[in-house]
């Protein structure tokens, strides 16, 4: 995701806010920033129009010339001077020549880009603002804040957060008693189990024998491609849920029946370098 150092400069200056109101405004902008996949400053060229074939024209669609791109996914081609179709919430707010920063989500991608407005700030491009220095500093904080919020939500929802090392990986042998439930599909998970030697528990009650079973899909099918896959000796922070996916909530570990856990979303496993950050977030 490309972003511009000018982003916050723009939003700081565009908001006609008293100094006392700024923290609140920054929170709102942070939410808008997070929700928006594409943010750009631009000048309205035509209302009730579209910029390329394939986009349905309506009273809500306007064509905006891009003055500066503030945030966009890498794959999207969007640069200064491009015309973008924006489906706006309130067409009355715009006329030819209106300058604004648009917070938007992607809509239609063809020979050009069409987006749906999530919010906007009227005013010329923030790139010219004198607040740039402050903005650059605050922008980094904002990015970190958003990333931390995601992680905080993730660890808050977890049953366990542990630091550990994988000591063994093996294919899960489906118990005969439940085998009839398991059918063959190209989306089959090919469940494997990682035996986790726990080094420290960051969240969750104490574990007997300091070992856990983490069940994970070894399949390379499209359904499971983003799920973390584990190898022997792999170390890190594991954000774990009780297994409600494989169809069997327990596992066998050293002759004992124990709860099985999963770690299925990208980011549910983190490298050791994130340990201090996770510990800090857990204290909040």
């Amino acid at each position: 995701m490309n972003t511009s150092k000018f982003f916050l400069a723009g939003i700081l200056w565009m908001s006609p806010l008293a100094a006392g109101a700024l923290p609140q405004a920054t929170d709102n902008q942070a939410d808008l920033f997070k929700q928006s996949s594409i943010i750009f400053a631009g000048t309205v060229r035509q209302v009730a129009a579209t910029s390329f074939a394939g986009v349905p024209k309506s009273a809500q669609t306007i064509v905006v010339r891009v003055d500066s791109v503030l945030k966009k996914p890498t794959a999207v081609s969007l640069k200064n001077g491009d015309d973008v179709t924006v489906e706006v919430k309130d067409p009355a707010a715009f006329q030819d020549g209106t300058q604004a920063t648009f917070y938007a989500d992607g809509w239609i991608f063809g020979s050009g880009v069409a987006v749906k407005e999530l919010g906007h700030e009227i005013g010329p491009s923030g790139a010219t603002s004198g607040a740039t220095g402050t903005a650059e500093k605050t922008f980094g904080q904002l990015q970190q804040e958003i990333s931390d919020q995601d992680l905080q939500r993730r660890v808050a929802a977890a049953d366990y957060v542990v630091v550990g090392r994988v000591t063994d990986v093996h294919q899960w042998t489906i118990p005969k008693s439940v085998a009839a439930r398991y059918r063959t599909s190209e989306h089959s998970a090919n469940w494997h189990e990682a035996v986790l030697q726990i080094q420290s528990i960051l969240k969750g009650p104490k574990i007997k024998r300091n070992k856990m079973i983490v069940r994970f899909p070894q399949s390379r099918d499209v359904a499971w491609v983003n799920a973390p896959k584990f190898e022997k000796e792999q170390q890190g922070i594991f954000i774990l849920q009780k297994d409600q996916v494989s169809g069997e909530a327990t596992a066998s570990l050293g002759g004992y029946t124990v709860d099985a856990y999963t770690c299925l979303k990208p980011g549910d496993w983190l490298p050791m370098t994130d340990e201090a950050r996770v510990r800090s977030l857990l204290k909040k």
Binding site: S77, W107, I108, F109, T184, V222
Partner: protein
């Protein structure tokens, strides 16, 4: 017309020649080898990735295509293409309103980010000029969820309306046709929740998707389930066929399977749906086209970087529903990884050709897709691993493949790019007859090299054919990946 052997030892020299000819002739022209005997003169191949996504490097595999019957300028294609801007956004489809020359990506499916199976069809019962798109999509999260959904305007920003939802099914395959201004929708799927193990199923809607009824079409004992692919075919006279793999044994890497065809003569509207065709051996519904074939099952790179296990297709003559073709793959010959076969019935599925039709036994190939044009010409799309390349063929025949015309759409390196996930190219591609054209979609390595596309090719995304380099919107090089390609080939007269 000149008949050509289907096996690769004969095809490869032709492929090389065709590629050389294609390189010389460039876009839009057919090389001499293709021209012999009224070869298609104006084949069209278009990379679907739009200009504004020139920087993408996704593995956009497993393509599908729907064509608006009343206005074939309007088409919808799909692939494993994620929402380009947001993991929380809807999975997109590709939309063309100019007969496939240009495409846009529109995020309107009900699935978040990316589907893990999607097929669709556009029928005209409700007279929506840019709809009705009927889709079957799988969302794969903690469980697999099927949405059967509809869009009345594929260009709008409205997310498709989900009409039916259920879990624990596999490979929805949608066909639809309008009858008396009402869309009849047939969704072949593998219903893994069937406790009987008779999992081959067709979901039928006779009211435009407002309601669906499920029919198990397997009448015999299985090893616990049928194979994933269940494919329906609908004729305008209300005849509906479906084909499936009746799995009788399975050891985890090999299925012993029957290829079974069922038929319904009244659009599956009656109480005994899909029971019109009985096998003489046991008098049970479902004609056994072949019995006990060995079908390798591998959810790992096996045919090149592709997995194998369940390629299957069926097509009915739109003007003579007695004629129906079935194609599948199995481990047919020693040394082959995966061998395609096509058989034909000319008596409504009662009897079938005893052996493969001429020129249809294809070694080391997958992604079979069959279609029959209005004039009875049969089309046969497949992708073959030959000489370290994935070669995409569309074969046509006026006479049940006794004589054929073979058009090579693409021949690309098979070892690059490295797979990001499976399927590498897709568990299926698609072919459909539209007037005097065979239209379809396939996936391939997207290197901008004209030698790879003997019929010529058009890229929407930024591509430098001189340096064979993809570029993003700022001119930076972009890594090659798998893209979906649309094609149109004129039907033999």
């Amino acid at each position: 017309m000149r008949a050509r052997a289907g096996h690769w030892t004969c095809v490869l020299p032709l492929t090389v020649f065709a590629l050389m000819a294609g390189t010389v002739l460039g876009r839009g022209q057919s090389p001499p080898s293709m021209r012999a005997g009224a070869a298609p003169a104006h084949a069209k191949v278009v990379d679907l990735i739009p200009t504004s996504l020139s920087g993408e490097t996704n593995q956009d595999s497993e393509p599908f295509l729907a064509v608006q019957a009343d206005n074939p300028q309007v088409m919808v294609a799909s692939a494993f293409t994620p929402n380009p801007v947001s993991s929380a956004g809807n999975a997109p489809v590709y939309v063309s309103e100019d007969a496939g020359n240009t495409w846009v990506l529109n995020a309107i499916t009900p699935v978040q980010r990316m589907t893990c199976d999607i097929t669709h069809a556009m029928s005209t019962g409700e007279n929506h000029p840019r709809g009705d798109l009927h889709a079957g999509t799988l969302a794969c999260a903690a469980s697999v969820t099927l949405d059967e959904s509809e869009s009345e305007d594929v260009s709008s920003s409205a997310v498709m309306n989900v009409q039916s939802t259920r879990t624990n099914v596999d490979q929805p395959f949608v066909r639809a046709l309008a009858f008396s201004h009402i869309d009849h929708i047939y969704v072949g799927l593998n219903d893994l929740g069937q406790s009987s193990g008779r999992t081959a199923t067709v979901d039928v809607s006779l009211d435009g998707g407002a309601t669906y009824k499920s029919y198990s079409i397997e009448s015999r004992k299985t090893m616990g389930q049928d194979g994933p692919s269940v494919r329906p075919a609908v004729a305008p006279d209300n005849t509906v066929y479906a084909v499936f793999f009746g799995w009788r044994k399975f050891n985890g890497s090999m299925a012993t399977s029957d290829v079974v065809v069922v038929r319904d003569d009244a659009g599956a509207a009656g109480p005994q749906a899909f029971q019109a065709l009985k096998d003489p051996s046991d008098k049970l519904p479902g004609r056994l086209v072949v019995k006990g074939v060995s079908i390798p099952w591998s959810n790992a790179p096996t045919l090149g970087q592709e997995r194998i296990g369940s390629t299957l297709s069926i097509a009915v003559d739109p003007n003579n529903s007695s004629t129906v073709y079935v194609g599948w793959a199995d481990r047919g010959r020693k040394g082959d990884i995966y061998t395609l076969h096509v058989r034909r019935s000319t008596d409504r599925g009662v009897t079938w050709s005893k052996s493969d039709l001429a020129h249809t036994t294809i070694s080391n190939a997958t992604n079979i897709a069959l279609a029959v044009a209005n004039n009875g010409v049969a089309g046969f799309l497949y992708q073959q691993l030959a000489g370290g390349r994935w070669v995409t063929h569309v074969v046509q025949s006026r006479d049940g493949f006794a004589t054929i015309e073979d058009t090579i759409l693409a021949s690309v390196p098979a070892d690059t790019p490295v797979e990001q996930f499976l399927p590498y190219l897709g568990d299926y591609d698609y072919l459909i007859a539209v007037g005097n054209e065979f239209r379809g979609v396939f996936c391939a390595n997207n290197t901008p090299d004209r030698a790879n596309f003997p019929q010529g090719v058009t890229y929407q995304r930024t591509a430098d054919f001189n340096t064979k380099t993809l570029r993003d919107g700022s001119g930076n090089p972009v890594a090659i990946s798998i893209d979906p390609f649309y094609f149109s080939v004129p039907v033999l007269p």
